[in-house]
Subunit: 471 residues, 2 copies
């Protein structure tokens, strides 16, 4: 067994305290961090292992993420095979790549069988295809088959999220028999089971019993008298976003995954769903803010590139808006107050529209908004746009008059403000709803369309009205 | 017991199927919804109960949220005491208020003891103080004491999130004895337990055993030989955001809550943490998009009011930016191309800065960004701002020259673009970090400061340079 990653006995020790601050509850205190850095500098292998081993793998991963490239290499060199494979699971994608490059595919292939099947897949699917194939080839046969099957399911599907380890029993077993059987099985400390599943001889899912129910039942009761029939389950190809919504809707801790023939394939556990929720939220934020990556560990070049693609899009839309201004150069030359006031109209429209878009995107993502209340929502946002449009129209009239002492320009600004806030409300709902209808993610593209529209409408109504009335 | 809300037997029936779409997995299909509407119209009480009872309380809540005010009143009238108290927990705050107004405080006081303690608190803390006191007075004594204690903990603390129902045993009990004891206890279907806790005679928390570990252990083993000592726990006054971070960091399903004397007070379950994560994310989104409420059920007036306060703030900042333009009216009059190009400079700066702010806010919220990598992050964002500044500077020079055929104005626009994107990168990190330092939530206020700064800088550099060089 010398090839195996060393599992350490100190794992259960815990530095958590009862203080009130996250930093004191969090395993990796700054004291521990400094001590680890010291052992790295001193190349003290035993000292390092003694400090690292008691940390939760998630905390070890955080430690690794904080190391510079050189320190990381010394750290991995010193630790060698004492590196807990579980740590890989918790690493930020960018750092994970670096660590895997360093330890090599051979060590990775030794680490994979130590992991839960869902964690193994999460690491493998991030690898480049070439490396992935090399690693898969080196896996023990049983692992290889499971991994290849999991990778055959669509990306971001239930099949990729599920763990293959679960407890399933025939319906005619008794509670006593089941517990007896569990007692004879070798125990993996890390295994997380919260329910047992009842299956028929064809491996089809019949029911579920929570462990708390199993524990408090009389031993002679048969599982099929205790089980909840038709438990909530998802098909293996269901998208992870749908799965996450079901977990949230019903407050689930785990959920069985089945194939088209109702055969039980695996179980999804809530901790992976928490990650999915965070991913989905970041996807929404990405589109709204024009960011392509939330990892602060990604390299400077990658970050600049990701931002660039959004900025160039913004450049085009800004040019479009400015070309509207270009149509009215003559008017601006005659009445330069227009140039001073026009950004206020555009900015208010953009902000009001972003408010509506954000609420719509969030409501679509959480399935609060659907066919049943769509009309009501559009109507409400239109009213909100109109009422705020009227209020800000008054304020704008006042502002423009006090600033430039020109009644006409003041009234025109007021009219443009109403128009822009009203359109912001209407478009702020219609743009995301239309994108959703055409299966384009509204989170990603709504705000670009929206701010372009409010800029164009703001400039056009304000300058256009001025051209008509004043000049 | 005629005063009690009727618990229904049909609850376990489940409409879930193995289809691929959320709508088919989701309990409240449009068929069921239509059938329910029909029974409401026909005032068919038995029919309504038959349709509603098998639905999960979360689905019943969704159904209620979709009803108009009149339909809602008929629905509640028809259902009467057959309304499952659990439904209240899942309702959107705005609708919850309406339902509680309708059923009255007396019915609410009857419903509270039926709920998990954490759910009961969640409902009570949303009530106005007067109503809350009326309800609390009507509660049975045991419930009243628990509720009053829970409400004495700070808002959004672990003490408000925890459920008081948990299983705790002395350390010298054996596994067999523990399971035997559990079997003699009356079982509540809905109770969710995933671990048992080991306490000393002073009720101090000594250790934890997961149910799966308990089930597979030999019956004669003593709990103190099986338990994990020093389990992760939080103090009752710890903020829910910290608690959620710990759940995410360590992939927890439940966590014990203790007081300063280490006494076990309750348990927090992951389904409540999922809600907290969503709440915290919405708080971040609120500030970035300037929205004060994500509920699409809030009234038109409330919505307009919430939006107004953000828009008025934006109005002031827009005026500030425009007053910079006001300083250069003479220049614009002479060279109207400036008025056409200036919004492009400001817009690019605003967008680049929002990208950085969003990443910084998210990284602070998820604790990815801290003292250890702060400097690195600021430096990276500065570089990203500079490199994209250079690229867009070239593009701007080209654009301005092609559009207006003026070399000087083209070069000035290029310079203003670099300056604005560079400052956007620097301020996009420094603003949220400074706010965080002064304990102001960076999510709420960063983007206002940022866009004001990029507007002012954009207009000032572009128009100021033009004034210096050209005119």
């Amino acid at each position: 067994m010398e090839n195996k990653f060393q599992k350490n006995d100190l794992r259960e020790v815990d530095y958590s305290s009862s203080g009130n601050d996250f930093n004191t509850l969090y395993g990796l205190s700054s004291g521990v961090e400094e001590a680890i850095l010291l052992t790295i500098n001193k190349k003290n292998r035993q000292g390092l292992i003694k400090l690292v081993a008691p940390l939760h793998p998630a905390d070890q991963a955080d430690m690794i993420e904080r190391l510079s490239v050189e320190k990381l290499n010394s750290f991995l060199n010193l630790l060698g095979k004492a590196l807990d494979p579980e740590v890989l699971v918790y690493l930020d994608h960018n750092v994970q790549e670096k660590v895997i490059d360093f330890i090599g595919t051979k060590a990775l292939a030794r680490a994979i069988p130590e992991l839960h099947s869902d964690d193994a897949i999460e690491i493998l699917e991030e690898l480049e295809e070439k490396d992935r194939n090399v690693v898969i080839k080196q896996l023990p046969k049983a692992n290889r088959i499971l991994v290849e099957e999991a990778l055959s399911f669509p990306e971001s599907s239930a099949g990729r999220l599920m763990q293959r380890e679960f407890l399933a029993f025939p319906e005619n077993w008794t509670v006593g028999q089941t517990i007896e059987h569990m007692r004879t099985q070798p125990q993996d400390e890390e295994e997380n089971f919260y329910s047992i599943y009842i299956i028929d001889p064809g491996h089809r899912l019949l029911g579920v019993i929570s462990l708390s129910k199993l524990l408090s039942a009389k031993t002679q009761i048969k599982l099929n008298d205790l089980m909840q029939i038709n438990p909530r389950s998802v098909h293996v190809e269901t998208d992870q976003e749908e799965v996450a919504l079901l977990f949230q809707q019903y407050g689930l801790v785990n959920m069985p995954v089945i194939d088209l023939a109702d055969r039980l394939l695996g179980v999804i556990i809530v901790d992976d769903i928490v990650d999915v929720i965070n991913e989905e939220v970041e996807e929404d934020l990405q589109g709204l803010a024009g960011v392509s990556d939330f990892s602060i560990r990604s390299s400077f070049i990658e970050t600049a590139k990701g931002r660039f693609s959004w900025l160039i899009l913004n450049m085009f839309t800004a040019i479009l808006a400015s070309s509207v201004i270009g149509l009215f150069q003559e008017e601006i030359e005659k009445l330069v107050a227009l140039a001073v006031l026009m950004p206020i109209v555009a900015s208010m429209g953009g902000n009001a529209g972003t408010q509506t878009v954000t609420v719509a995107v969030r409501a679509l993502a959480t399935r609060q908004l659907d066919y049943s209340n769509l009309q009501k929502f559009v109507l409400k946002e239109t009213w909100v746009g109109l009422i705020n449009g009227i209020i800000f129209s008054f304020l704008s009239v006042l502002l423009a008059y006090l600033w430039f002492g020109d009644k006409q320009i003041a009234i025109i600004m007021g009219l443009a403000m109403i128009a822009n806030l009203l359109f912001a409300g209407i478009l702020g709902t219609l743009i995301p709803l239309t994108l959703e209808k055409f299966k384009i993610d509204p989170a990603i593209s709504s705000s670009v369309f929206l701010t372009t529209a409010t800029d164009v409408i703001g400039f056009f109504t304000f300058l256009g009205l001025s051209a008509l009335v004043i000049l």
